[in-house]
Symmetry: none
Subunit: 199 residues, 4 copies
């Protein structure tokens, strides 16, 4: 009976809810979930501590919302790109484009990406959300390929594998972790590997 969270119908309210999510987004990015306290979120959002609990059940609820926003921000461009695909598919063009898109996303959200992934191990909901995201991307792409006449063996596995490679490469690329690695060379490897797989 208690703790009913307002579903903001007023414009003002939605804006305020978004402000809080945005504040959470920033703070979680900067200092992580455990490094952030609700008072800080409220202050950054320009609201009182109390009202935060008018919009969210608890601190974790903010995290979940931030996660959703992140997923939308980060993966919508990709999904849209897949939607726009048209026959005949030229993997030579497509693969680099995807890689670039993923890298761009990583660059823009790298901290949040880290912060959220770091929660997946403790928080089942966060984990599921990421799994569902991978599912939807894989399935969506598989459908598109089929529709566009690309007929390959084990499409699911190939797509998933390709996405894995791209993810892991982009992560490296953005965080640029090892100085002895020429990441542009590596990028070429990724591209080549994937293209071969789909031909």
């Amino acid at each position: 009976m208690k703790n009913v969270v307002r579903e903001p119908s007023q414009k003002r309210s939605i804006e305020k809810k978004n402000k809080i999510i945005q504040a959470g987004y920033e703070l979680f990015s900067e200092v992580g979930y455990y490094g952030t306290n609700t008072a800080e979120i409220a202050k950054r959002a320009g609201v009182s501590t109390g009202i935060v609990y008018g919009y969210f059940q608890d601190k974790r609820d903010i995290l979940i919302c931030v996660l959703e926003v992140y997923i939308e921000k980060a993966f919508d461009p990709l999904i849209k790109m897949f939607d726009k695909l048209s026959a005949p598919i030229k993997f030579n063009d497509l693969v680099p484009k995807i890689i670039n898109a993923v890298i761009k996303t990583h660059k823009q959200n790298k901290k949040m990406h880290e912060a959220l992934h770091s929660m997946a191990s403790t928080d089942e909901a966060v984990n599921s959300e990421f799994i569902a995201l991978e599912d939807s991307i894989t399935v969506k792409l598989a459908e598109q390929l089929k529709k566009l006449g690309v007929s390959i063996e084990n499409p699911m596995e190939k797509i998933h594998f390709a996405m894995d490679i791209i993810q892991s490469f982009s992560h490296e690329y953005v965080f640029d972790k090892h100085e002895y690695i020429d990441y542009d060379v590596m990028r070429e490897m990724v591209v080549t590997t994937i293209i071969k797989m789909f031909e």
Copy 2:
């Protein structure tokens, strides 16, 4: 004069320190770093809360030690495998062997793996340690290959890329996240991809 952490010279002391690390290992695995408190660690280790701070600077220090143990446990078999390599290298045999080893490691330590990786985003030291680990593996393997007469273009990039693929695949394999994926088919892809790269 504060915070002087004893480097235990006595056998008993070393054992005690290890017990604490072990307790930390278990607890961090089970409930994560933030879900664990030092009193619990002490209790599980069978020591007093106070003495924990005789062996470790703070809670994070335990994490670092746990991390080291993990890395040793998890990656020593791999490194040893590389040490034992002898010419001529048969990638057809080697690659599956490596994959199996990594999967085995993942299986045995999956919770700890998660827990530690989730810290890398917030804790610089943890992050560096992981980077250093990747470095050392890459470098070590590169040296070995060279020594054993394998001469390929861009060895660093290739090795690193191969390791990335294996890591990410093993992770998927162990956590078995998507039901529509046949992970044995995917494993074959990984093997084939890598072998091609090195020939």
Copy 3:
């Protein structure tokens, strides 16, 4: 200028004020004063949180009003019974009738009875109200008896003592606390004791 509480003159307003009191009545009964929050009262009353403070100074003020309603509901029947008394008074009939009335009241309002009495220790106003209630009952009954020609020694003390006994018995009877007690036997004792006192 602050905290001016409107004395509602409009019918609608009076109804609304009563609704709030009713909601308070129910909630205080169910979960006690401290277990109830004003938002809940407002919701149950079907009004906004804000307007509650248009009709009441603060939460405690609602309590006071609830108390008044309770007293009226619970003790008016008794007072009316006293009003209707006519000579000659037959204590053999009257005493059981009073006991039944008090028990009935207790049964109908037992939760509220508890809730309010539990406030008397902390809240002076609540306490006074209860004392005043006892006063008025005692005085009223004393007057009636006198008017009806019942002349006894120490009427005030006797009446008060009788009321005390009835109160405490009714409480026991309704809450039926001890299984080894036959409350009907006890009721007889109460009746006999009181009748003897007044003859």
Copy 4:
């Protein structure tokens, strides 16, 4: 696994636990359970907030302990008096003695008495404890009377009724609520009533 409350074995610890209970006792008496906060209790007890939770599960746990102390303090004299009874029982002496004892107890603990009774309506444990207390007193006294050869009809009901009367009278007597009442006259009524019942 968490929240294990120390059962203090050390003398110092017991003293400290008692200090906290004492502080709770005072504060609950003065401003009630809801008017007291844990920090205040700690301060009054001369300890830190933290350690309070080393000795008690939560705030309510303190209340329960305070209740036990109160019951012991308040009712042990009575119980002991009953233990010492010897044949033949002279109700003329005994009843006033009991009344005096109960009044004395009420006087010494009146605030605590109020505070605790006010919790009984919300807190089941507190309620049960009071019921159990009444049980034990009634049973104990019944046994004694039987042992000492006092054979009366409905002893349980009579004892209980007598205790009720005494309780309620003592309460009135101590709080001295109505100026038109001569409480010494009333006391005589109580005494007479009870004595008659047991003869």
